[in-house]
Amino acid sequence: MPAEAAGHRTVGLRPPSTVMRLARLGSFFPSRLSFMPTLMRRLKAEGWRVEQGENALDPNGYGHVVYHACGPERTYSLIAFSQKLSAEERSDRVIAQAWDATFALFDGEPMAADIERLSQNAPRQEAGRYRPSELVLSRANRSVRFFDHVVESLAAGRQPDPVLVASVGYLMRTTAVYGNGKFGIADRGVIAERPELEGPFQAEMLNVYLIRCFTLDLVEHIARHRAPQTCAPLARATKRRLGIGNATGLGMAPFLATHPVLINNWIAARETALARVRNLAHAKAESAAAILSNLARAKAHVAEWRVDDARQSTRIAELADDLDTLSGWIEANNPFAHPAPFDAIYRFAEDELGPEAQELTVTLLLEPHGDLVDPLTATMSARETNAFEAGMTVGRLKELVRIHYAWALRIDFADPPAQSRFWYVSEEKLEPRLGERFEEDGSDREMPLAIARDVQALATALKEADDDSLVVKVTLARPELRQIAARVQTVARNPYGEIHDNLIAADCLPVDLLRCKLAFFGASKFDPKSDRWTRITMFAGAPLPDELTPSHPDWFVLSPGTI
């Protein structure tokens, strides 16, 4: 029963002014709305089979191997190419030119000619060319010492050191995953209508899941050939807790700012889900039990989360304390025995705990309520462009600026720190980068991510125009304002589409942008290596292929062992 029907106030969505701050976005955790658990639930519910196909790996694990993901209507195949890589060639930088393994997610089952063609291209990654039969292109490097340790252990008939398993957490880490038409692969339009891939990044997530399968099989394959008499298979529990690592940097950071409609849909789904749960009048016994159980698992998960970064270490310590506080409060007050229990839990977190604990509480509240939450995954894609409404009156656009960009109008850009940085595209790798405006060249080629500054320019121009005139008259004279005018109009329709912070300020932390996006992917245990890039792990703790059955419990992404 909704809380309103039981006589309680209705809780609305948290406003964009609260949610869309970098500090909060940088505190997000994955939830059941995230794209990895969403994929896992679909594969389970629809009984997908994930199995190894052709294996042309040599005893050292070099060669190629194919994995098939077979669903009710279609099959997708990961073609993995594994090669020997010298220490000098191994780099996680996007500028690297060779990798331990390269991959193509193929639409259907590849013929020998497809594999041959891709063997000439996939190992070259960006330097190769591809066809619309390829949906995703990616590559990964071994976590060398851990990879070797696992192989050696298995070959000797032992399991790998659990301390290393816990501290490393993956056998390979991806350094790029490309989709949507890059280098000739399929455009998003090829798969956008397919139910299994219509959600955001589902093809990319399937690709990474199959890479995980490949890495788990690869260590066993090498160990088996190295010592056929003594080798042992990797224990199921160890397999399950190993994921795929990733190093993510500035190349991904502007995405949140350049896709306002898509980001709105992601955040709006999460906020709607939270409001739905908070508005429940009573807790079912199983929901209450799940909250308590998942809180305990999340505490264990956080206890395992160790990073070198001083800022994040402090936040993790505070989060651990906050989760203890939350446990204590629930135990002392038993909110499940009272009306609107989930709203009470959220309000306690909001009033008493830090932002990391608040956002982890959101994950906890959503997890046992799949019936309310999961349908919202269907709303998380986007097709709308930033359409410019030329026939809007100047007065109306002024009003939209006032309503949605008051935060931007307050920034003093005469103060140098307010625009000490600029975003640009690097000549070296055609990737977004962040420069220091007053120290480096290139600000004349700045990317249009100075949203707040552009809004101020628009507001200034609008002051000169008659309120009853149409915006088109402003943009005919000042076409450089068309983009920001369209953005204001778009954000007015999609209020969670704008980050309410200055992305060129000296104190902007791009790693907060990364964490928000990666949390929506389903990544966890963020391990910032600077304010501009982070390591993460994907699919750690996720079901193994033979566990993709409807009877298997849903994967809670913040379980312990999700390294």
């Binding site: 191994r90 780099s91 996680d92 930088r93 996007v94 060319r129 619309p132 490097n141 976590s143 060398v144 010492r145 851990f146 490393v168 350094t175 038409g181 890059k182 000739g184 399929a186 455009d187 998003r188 339009g189 090829v190 190093a247 993510t248 940097g249 500035l250 190349g251 930033n386 410019f388 030329a390 026939g391 640009y424 595209v425 690097s426 000549e427 055609l430 980068r433 962040l434 420069g435 480096e440 060249d441 290139g442 080629r445 249009p448 149409l470 915006v471 088109v472 943009t475 005919l476 076409p479 450089e480 304002l481 068309r482 983009q483 920001i484 369209a486 290596k529 600077s530 501009r532 890039w533």
Partner: protein
């Protein structure tokens, strides 16, 4: 073969490189996607348009309104179809019923814009040099077979654009561009590369790029010796 995303992204970035505002460049990219899906040489057309912008051989023009509607006119050079085309689309979307573009370079490029930017349900385009022209509805362009977009719309020429409530009569001898089936086909097969045009467009894109500095390399993802495990 190229993807639609590559076509759109390449033209968008090149348009920024020659100095088009981002809001215009993104529309030019979308227009190029339509041209490619319609089977037209999108990269060559776009490169021709952008080369003319870069060399000063086209003009953004300025818009004026009188009793006959809006006119966008250049000075001593042909109108840039991307700049004038976006302006015309915006005017149409804001309620203008008649617009004349005087002396448009490569009007076929502007037609791409009318299909993706204009929200007017049906447009009639009349050519200044002939009595017939094109009609545009729901992203589909119809022209006389004798005057196909491939050869007949090179310009410079005047374009008169007007909204229309009338359905196009089911005439014979018409050629249609931009059918959904065309788009589905290029999605499944890819789009033939236009290497010479790609080189020209990349030259413009290069003007948007910033060389890496040692500082930027040190700050990038995976920077330094990463194999700590």
């Amino acid at each position: 073969m190229l993807s639609l995303n590559e076509i759109e992204g390449t033209v968008r970035k090149a348009a920024v490189g020659v100095g088009l505002a981002y809001g215009l460049a993104s529309e030019a990219g979308r227009a190029a996607g339509w041209l490619a899906a319609a089977g037209l040489p999108a990269l060559t057309l776009s490169a021709d348009v952008l080369d003319a912008v870069a060399s000063g051989d086209s003009n953004p023009g300025h818009a004026r309104e009188d009793e006959n509607g809006w006119t966008i006119v250049g000075t001593d050079r042909p109108l840039c179809p991307f700049r004038a085309g976006v302006a015309a689309c915006d005017l149409l979307n804001a309620g203008a019923s008649r617009i004349t573009l005087k002396g448009v370079l490569l009007p076929v490029a502007a037609i791409g814009l009318f299909t993706v930017v204009s929200t007017v349900p049906r447009l009639i385009l009349s050519r200044g040099d002939r009595s017939d022209g094109a009609s545009i509805a729901t992203g589909i362009v119809t022209v006389p077979e004798a005057d196909p977009l491939e050869t007949g719309w090179a310009g410079p020429l005047d374009l008169m654009i007007a909204g229309s409530d009338e359905d196009t009569p089911a005439e014979t001898g018409l050629k249609r561009y931009g059918e959904p089936a065309d788009r589905a086909r290029v999605l499944s097969t890819g789009i033939p590369d236009e290497p010479e045009a790609m080189v020209r467009l990349k030259r413009h894109i290069a003007k948007t790029l910033v060389p890496a500095s040692d500082a930027s390399r040190e700050r990038g993802a995976g920077a330094g010796r990463i194999d700590s495990h």
